[in-house]
């Protein structure tokens, strides 16, 4: 510890020679100068002395008639003189230390655990609304307030723990496993003849013209049967249930929200265009390499002169990557800038067929996500002046239905009744 202290203050390794070298040591001791590592080296002594003491011992040297030779300068003050020429290194070290020190006070990561029903995006949006984001000061994160707000905003949460762990904020959520009870207003709705009566009935209507493949009614009155041809807008399940009396007459009708599974088979016309011409980049073989730095998603390339190519392709080679655990990415590496020549040419038949097929497959996949099945397709590709077009018809089966409010059927006014 003492050596470390003297290292920071600076000390000298000296040789003291002369007839009264012991007296020199004694006088140093009397004047409270600290000496260490005193060794005899032939007729002289070598020892270490602090820099401050060295400047105070001139009269001791004169009094004892000894000769003092500096053998080595040790310590930070002597290192600093060499560092003056290379000021960039300690400056960078200081800046790095300052950045590291300051980064300890910032929030670098947000972890959300245990959520199943509540989407992570929703929670992130909630945090953003409450100005909780990466890079903010840790002291500004009020965990208790966040817990209360989360519980208030999301009633599904039965238990939540928000805590700071290092530079990361962790939200540990426990959701209610039981189904959420229906609202009291709904529970208070009147039941009539076994049906939940609504103020306004809702019909299920056809969205597209087609043929009914299957119909399962859960609530409401079915208006069509399997095999029926329907037009767009036709009512498939009516949101009104008629209740008959013992004589078979309509006693009353109840408004309900029609519910059921209906599969309609219909045809969908599709059309996709792709440009006929294509720009092809060909590498010329010329290449230059630069150092780059990537901070999150932005690249920074260091170059003294402008990149000499008009068109080029950048290929990064990462050397080191850091900060991934903290939620930030800092990459340093070499960027290869390859010169390319752009040539515009017409696509071959295989190329545009593949491109159009890809688009069609993508469209079919998007239909499949909506529970629409493809039963057949009839497509053809036509080459135009500037584009290539794929047109065709898809025979599909799916729930092509929409919900509409039930229209109240007004009874025709009968003039003969009074007569």
């Amino acid at each position: 510890m003492l050596k470390l202290f003297y290292f920071f203050r600076g000390y000298l390794w000296i040789r003291v020679s002369g007839a009264c070298a012991e007296r020199f040591i004694n006088l140093c001791g009397i004047r409270h100068m600290m000496l260490w590592n005193i060794k005899q080296d032939g007729a002289s002594y070598t020892m270490c002395i602090s820099l401050k003491s060295f400047f105070e011992m001139k009269d001791i040297v004169r009094k004892t008639s000894t000769r003092v030779v500096i053998l080595k300068r040790i310590g930070l003050p002597f290192l600093m003189s060499g560092v003056k020429k290379r000021w960039f290194f300690p400056a960078f070290l200081l800046v790095a230390m300052a950045v590291f020190f300051l980064s300890q006070f910032l929030l670098w990561n947000i972890r959300i655990e245990g959520n199943q029903v509540i989407l992570e995006e929703d929670i992130q949006l909630f945090l953003e609304e409450h100005e909780i984001k990466k890079g903010m000061l840790l002291k500004n994160v009020d965990t208790e307030f966040l817990e209360k707000e989360m519980r208030r905003t999301y009633p599904e949460i039965t238990w939540i723990s928000v805590y700071l762990e290092g530079n990361a904020l962790t939200l540990n959520i426990k959701e209610n496993d039981k189904p959420i009870p229906k609202e009291e207003a709904e529970a208070e709705k009147s039941h009539k003849e076994g049906f939940l009566e609504e103020e306004q009935g809702i019909d299920i209507c056809a969205d597209k013209a087609g043929r009914i493949v299957s119909i399962i009614t859960r609530e409401g009155t079915p208006m069509v049967q399997v095999g029926d041809e329907v037009q767009a807008g036709d009512v498939l399940i009516c949101g009104q249930v008629e209740i008959f009396d013992n004589e078979g007459n309509v006693r009353e009708s109840v408004n309900v929200h029609a519910d059921g599974d209906i599969i309609v088979e219909c045809s969908i016309s599709t059309s996709f265009d792709v440009p006929l011409m294509k720009t092809v980049e060909t590498e010329t073989g010329n290449c230059k390499k630069y150092t780059f730095c990537r901070w999150r998603d932005s690249y920074r390339i260091w170059h003294l002169f402008a990149i000499p190519y008009e068109d080029y392709r950048a290929v990064p080679h990462t050397y080191s990557r850091m900060g991934e655990k903290m939620g930030i990415t800092l990459e340093v590496g070499e960027m290869e800038i390859r010169e390319v020549v752009k040539v515009v040419r017409e696509k071959t038949e295989e190329e545009y067929t593949e491109e159009l097929s890809g688009k069609l497959e993508e469209y079919i996949a998007s239909l499949a996500k909506k529970a629409i099945q493809i039963k057949g397709k009839n497509v053809r590709i036509k080459k135009n002046a500037n584009t290539v077009t794929l047109t065709g018809t898809l025979r599909v089966q799916g729930p092509f239905v929409e919900r509409k409010e039930t229209k109240v059927q007004e009874e025709p006014f009968d003039d003969t009744a009074d007569e």
């Binding site: 012991e22 007296r23 040591i25 004694n26 140093c28 001791g29 009397i30 004047r31 409270h32 100068m33 600290m34 000496l35 260490w36 590592n37 005193i38 060794k39 005899q40 002594y45 020892m47």
Partner: protein
């Protein structure tokens, strides 16, 4: 002499350490490889085989091999090496 005659029995009755009252030296040995000396006046002779120290009430000599002073201040010093003999010379 008169003053000493009062201080000595008083210090003995109060059980005060003699290095404070009489200015006696404190010498601590750790095995035969290290010696701590306090309350000394100075060095008389220093070689790797022999270190001769002037105490306030006499002299002490450390004889041995590879002796060297690791630490030296006005209050205390530390001698390291292989101490074979310690001699008091009054």
């Amino acid at each position: 002499m008169r003053k000493k005659s009062i201080i000595t029995p008083l210090a003995e009755s109060l059980k005060l350490p003699k290095d404070i009252t009489k200015g006696d030296s404190n010498i601590s040995l750790t095995g035969n490889e290290e010696a701590w000396i306090e309350n000394y006046k100075g060095i008389i002779e220093y070689t790797p085989e022999r270190i001769f120290i002037q105490l306030k009430n006499g002299r002490v000599a450390f004889c041995g091999r590879e002796l060297h002073i690791a630490f030296y201040t006005s209050e205390e010093m530390r001698i390291t090496g292989i101490i074979e003999e310690m001699q008091f010379l009054c």
